[in-house]
C-alpha cells in the first residue's frame, strides 16, 4: 500500500505498534522483582540479577493441562537459544509444592523453578489463569505477556525473543 504522506505512514505504523503492545497485554512496565531459592537446583535466584539478559517468567502448576506442553517446549527453546543472554525463570504456584516437584520429576527442566504457593510473586503479576508468562527485556521491562499455551506457540515466542536479543 502506498501512503503519499510519510508522516501519515509513520503515524499508522506507530498506531499499529501501540495496538500490538496493547493487544499483547502490556505497554512497557517494570516487572515486579522477586527472589527465592529454586526448588529444582537449590540455587538462590533474584530477578534483579538477570538485568542485561532477556528473561521469560513463566507461571505454572501441576494441575494445569497446557503446562504439560509448555514446560518441555520452553526447556527445548532455552537449549536452542542458549543461556548467555537469555534465561527462563519458572514460578510454580501449586498450593502443595510437592505436587509441583512430582510434576518436575516427570517433566524435568534445566531452568530454575521457584515455589510460590501463597502468591507472593504471582499476585503482583496479576495472575488469574495458568499458564501465564511474561517476556522481559534486558532492562527488566515487561514487553509482552501470554495467556495459556498450545503446541506451536513457542515458534512465535522464539521469534520475539530473538528480536529482543538482537536489539
Amino acid at each position: 500500500m502506498h501512503y503519499p504522506c510519510p508522516m501519515l505512514s509513520k503515524s499508522i505504523l506507530s498506531l499499529g505498534l501501540v495496538l500490538l503492545l496493547v493487544q499483547s497485554g502490556y505497554a512497557k512496565e517494570a516487572a515486579p522483582l522477586f527472589s527465592g531459592t529454586s526448588v529444582n537446583a537449590g540455587q538462590q535466584i533474584s530477578l534483579e540479577a538477570y538485568r542485561g539478559k532477556v528473561v521469560l517468567v513463566d507461571f505454572w502448576a501441576s494441575w494445569c493441562p497446557p503446562c504439560l506442553a509448555s514446560l518441555p517446549a520452553y526447556n527445548q527453546m532455552r537449549q536452542e537459544i542458549g543461556t548467555s543472554e537469555f534465561e527462563i525463570i519458572a514460578i510454580n504456584v501449586d498450593e502443595d509444592t510437592e505436587d509441583g516437584l512430582a510434576f518436575l520429576e516427570d517433566h524435568p527442566v534445566d531452568y530454575p523453578v521457584l515455589a510460590d504457593p501463597e502468591g507472593d510473586i504471582g499476585i503482583p503479576y496479576g495472575i488469574r489463569t495458568l499458564p501465564r508468562s511474561f517476556l522481559l527485556d534486558r532492562n527488566g521491562q515487561i514487553i509482552a505477556s501470554y495467556n495459556s499455551f498450545k503446541a506451536g506457540d513457542e515458534v512465535n515466542l522464539r521469534q520475539e525473543i530473538t528480536a529482543l536479543l538482537e536489539q
Binding site: 496493547v22 497485554g25 507461571f59 502448576a61 494441575w63 494445569c64 493441562p65 497446557p66 504456584v93 501449586d94 498450593e95 501463597e118 502468591g119 504471582g122 499476585i123 496479576g126 495472575i127 488469574r128 489463569t129 495458568l130 495467556n147 495459556s148 498450545k150
Partner: protein, 278 residues
Amino acid sequence: MPLLASINTSAKEKGQFFISYSAENHQISDLVSGKKDVPDETDRDRHSFSQVLSASYAITDRWSVSALVSYVNHSRDIGLSIIGKTTSSGFGDSLALVRYTPLFFTPFSRHEVSLGLGMRVPTGDDDFGSGFVLSEDMQPSTGAYGGILWTSYSYAFNQAGTLQLNTSANYTYNGENDREYQFGHEFNFAVGLGHSVGTRFGYSAAVRYRTTQNDRRFGFDVPNTGGEWVEFVPAVAYAITDKFNIGASGRIPIARNLNGTLQFTTSYAYALSLSYAF
C-alpha cells in the same frame, strides 16, 4: 422470559470480549391451583421461544459491561376454543448491566464475588394483535423499563477450580407500561455445583427459587399472577476450542405455590447456547 439467565456469564479479564447466542423454549402447559397440579381438559398448547444475543466487555479485571437483545415468539393454541391458534413475535426487552467483581478466582483465591446493577429496556412491541391487543403474557416485550440488582458468589473446592459452588441472586423492579400494566417485581436465588472434566467438558446442577409479586393493572392486583417456583436446572457445556463454547440447559419444576385459583405455568424449558470469547 428469564433474560437475566442469559447474562450470567461475562467477559472476565481486562480487554476480553464475550459474545453469546442462546435459544430457549418454554413449554407452558401445566395448570396449577396453589401448590396442586390440575388436569387441563382444554387441550391447550402454549409455548414461548426466545432468542437472545448478548455481548460483554471487561473494561478492567473488576469492571465489565454487558448488554443483550432478545427476539421472542409466543404461541397459544386453545384446542377446544373457536379462537384457535394465536401467535405473536418480535423484539423483546433488552438488558444492560454493569458488573463489579471485587474478588475473583486466581490460583491464590478460591472465592469470587460479583455485584451488578442493570436496566431493562422495552425495545419491542407490547401492543401486538390485529383488531384487539393480545394479553400481556403474549406480548414480545413488557413495554416497561425495569431496574435490576444482581449478585453472585462462587467457591472453588480445589485450586484448579474444577469443582465449584455457585450461588446467585437478583431482583428486578418492573415499571408500568403505557397501558398501565405492571409485571410483578421478581426475585431469583440459585445455588448449585459445577464440575469441569478435563479441559473441554463441564456440567452443573442447580436449584433455583423464583418469586414474583402479582402483576398490577391500573394500580390493582391482577388475579392469577405471581407466586413461587422451585426448579432444577441441569446444564452441560463443551469447549470446541479455547474460545468457542456450546452449551445446553434445562429447567424442570420441583415445586410451586402460585397466587390465585388457577394459573398456567412452565412445564419445562430447555436452551441451547453458543459463546465466543476473544
